[in-house]
Amino acid sequence: MKHRLFWPVAALVTLILINTIARSQFASITVRDGRLYGALIDILRQSAPLMLVSLGMTIVIATRGIDLSVGAVMAVSGAVALTIIDGSSDPNNLGVVLLAVVVAIVVSLLLGVWNGFLVSLLGIQPIIATLVLMLAGRGVALLITEGFITTVNSTPFEFLSTGYLLLPFAFFIWVAAVVAVGLTERRTALGVLTEAVGINPEASRLAGVRSRGIIWSAYAASGALAGIAGIIYASNIKAADANAAGQFIELYAILAVVLGGTSLMGGKFTLAGTVVGVLIIQTLESTMLFLGVPPAESPVFFAAVVVVVVVIQSPRLHRFMRGITRSARSRGSAEPSEDAGVAI
């Protein structure tokens, strides 16, 4: 009960159980041509963009920041990659695709560096600093694609999102990203330093933590990860749609981070929690599709989820629950009163 991943994992398992009871084929996985198929596999494949964005968001939120520009960065990255592939003579050339992917990621990294510059050096509130790019980014993406939706047919590029190596290739991409971020944050001191900056920026600065560089690198990482997400998104629809790419993804990413148990106040963060949070969101999405809820209406349910989660996390409710348990104790009731079980 006390483990901080308990509630997110419990929520995910419950969701999967409900789905399996409602439709038995949900949990079934079939093997065809050496590939695994099934609803659960689909969830793993489709969660790639949100997973990448949420990873970056977790680090940024841990530094007491927020990155609203991820959706716009996704749009730019997709536009850059597809414009390069579209402009080449041979879209099926692996070299061209690699070049396009690398350039797109570098551009996204630079956009992240720009955000980090505004936040760490100029000291602008993160919401506002990243709002600038959120506004202007889509405009830039539209300029790159010249206002059109660029489409390409490129087998190597499509492989990124729809390819299979027993499991979907996109799944391997996000697992690799999780492992890479996990190793740099948890096998080095970086994670602890990031948490220190988030818990008390001033104290950690006095203690000799280079908070500026840490904050800066968090935004840069978020930008680069959003760039990869944008490439996968573009690869999935085989097009660069500057308006639709990453629409609302910043909101879902923040929700995933919070669901996973990282506080929006910064400080302690959990990457495993974020992974679970993303899977919860993706499973919810799949559930709603199954229930016949039009995708457009799903925000109502997400609104309900956000409200429930933030109310459960709210200190006031904790105080209130503690008050109840305390008064129950003082009345000498025989019931064993556990500490309010809301410690997400």
């Binding site: 927020i66 100029l122 506004l135 909101l251 457009a296 349910f301 609104a303 956000v306």
Partner: protein, 339 residues
């Protein structure tokens, strides 16, 4: 005025008139800058884009085309001055707009339909306000829930657009009250009324003073001010403004559409900030936000006159926003040093 500024005034030494003005009215500076930018934009467009930019017709159209944004910006100003933010306004506008269209299609009288959508907007605002005030949820997240809720509800009402046939609603838009070449529509009058009421409330009422005090200092409760009530109220006001904007936009486009206003909350925030309201809260003017909306609208008009991509609007607004927040940051840093 906030405590910071009074501190400025007391530490002020004998200086020139300009310096006195600066230190006393530091919070007016960004707004004045916005006015200057607006004037420069007009002159620049007149000289470089085409000779007939400053015409009564064009300026009248500016109010007509941006009436909905003006209403949203007034509500947003209240919220931002308390140090909060309301991301839900664009979605609330879409939801109330399409719900109005649907109610009218079903034959509901206007006298019921309009109050109904205003109450709906107010309820979304109430939800956000209660989350912010009583559950200590960050305004950003609370209003995010409001955004999701209202956007989803808009699609629940209808997945496609609904045409409005009611002549009373279309009248709001089609009536042109003319004075020479100038004209104003009832939607424009409504928007200006909202601005005037908003400015009056902020400057001359106890509620307005409390709003400034909350943004200036979270401990305002110590001064005996009704902080919880006011905090919830600003979000309700923003919600009602969202409802009014829904009405205006439905009249303007002659239909309700569930995809309306995606990203409009950003336009509204940008307009408010360009108009000189400090995002940290505590300083700002409703009239400044009006200037901000006009700057936004003028840039949009100039770009369509030049025949350039509309995406330039987003980029220029983003750049302007950046300049303004950097300037704001400098002003805050300056007054912090002084006090």
């Amino acid at each position: 005025m906030t405590s910071l500024e009074t501190a400025n005034t007391t530490t002020r030494k004998q200086a020139g008139y300009f310096e006195t003005f600066l230190s006393r009215r530091a919070s007016l500076l960004p707004t004045l800058a916005a006015v200057a930018i607006l004037i420069l934009l007009f002159i620049g467009a007149e000289i470089f884009v085409r000779g007939d930019f400053i015409t009564p017709r064009n300026i009248s159209a500016l109010l007509l085309d941006n009436a909905y944004l003006l209403i949203l910006a007034v509500g947003m100003t209240f919220v931002i001055i308390t140090g909060g933010i309301d991301l839900s306004v664009g979605s609330v506008m879409a939801f109330t707009g399409i719900w109005l269209a649907q109610l009218l299609e079903a034959g509901t009288p206007l006298a019921i339909a309009i109050p109904a959508i205003l109450v709906a907007g107010a309820l979304v605002g109430l939800l956000i306000g209660v989350l912010v005030q009583f559950f200590d949820v960050q305004p950003f997240i609370a209003s995010l829930a409001g955004l999701f809720l209202a956007r989803g509800l808009a699609f629940v009402v209808s997945l496609s657009s609904i045409k409005v046939e009611a002549t009373e609603v279309l009248w709001l838009q089609s009536t042109r009250i003319r004075i020479g070449d100038w004209y104003i529509t009832p939607t424009g009058i409504l928007a200006l009324l909202v601005v005037l009421v908003g400015a009056w409330v902020m400057q001359f009422t106890r509620f307005g003073r409390t709003t400034y005090a909350i943004g200036g200092n979270q401990q305002a409760a110590l001064m005996g001010l009704k902080v919880p009530r006011t905090t919830v109220s600003v979000y309700v006001i923003s919600g009602v403004c969202g409802g009014l904007a829904g009405l205006v936009l439905t009249a303007y486009s002659g239909a309700g559409y569930p995809r309306n206003g995606i990203g409009t909350e950003l336009d509204a925030i940008a307009a408010v900030v360009i108009g000189g309201t400090l995002l940290a809260g505590g300083r700002g003017y409703v009239l400044g936000s009006m200037i901000g909306v006009f700057v936004y609208g003028t840039i949009k008009t100039i770009i369509s006159f030049m025949g350039a991509e509309q995406s330039w609007t987003q980029i220029i607004i983003g750049a302007l926003l950046l300049v303004f927040i950097v300037v704001q940051r400098a002003i805050v840093a300056r007054s912090e040093r002084r006090s």
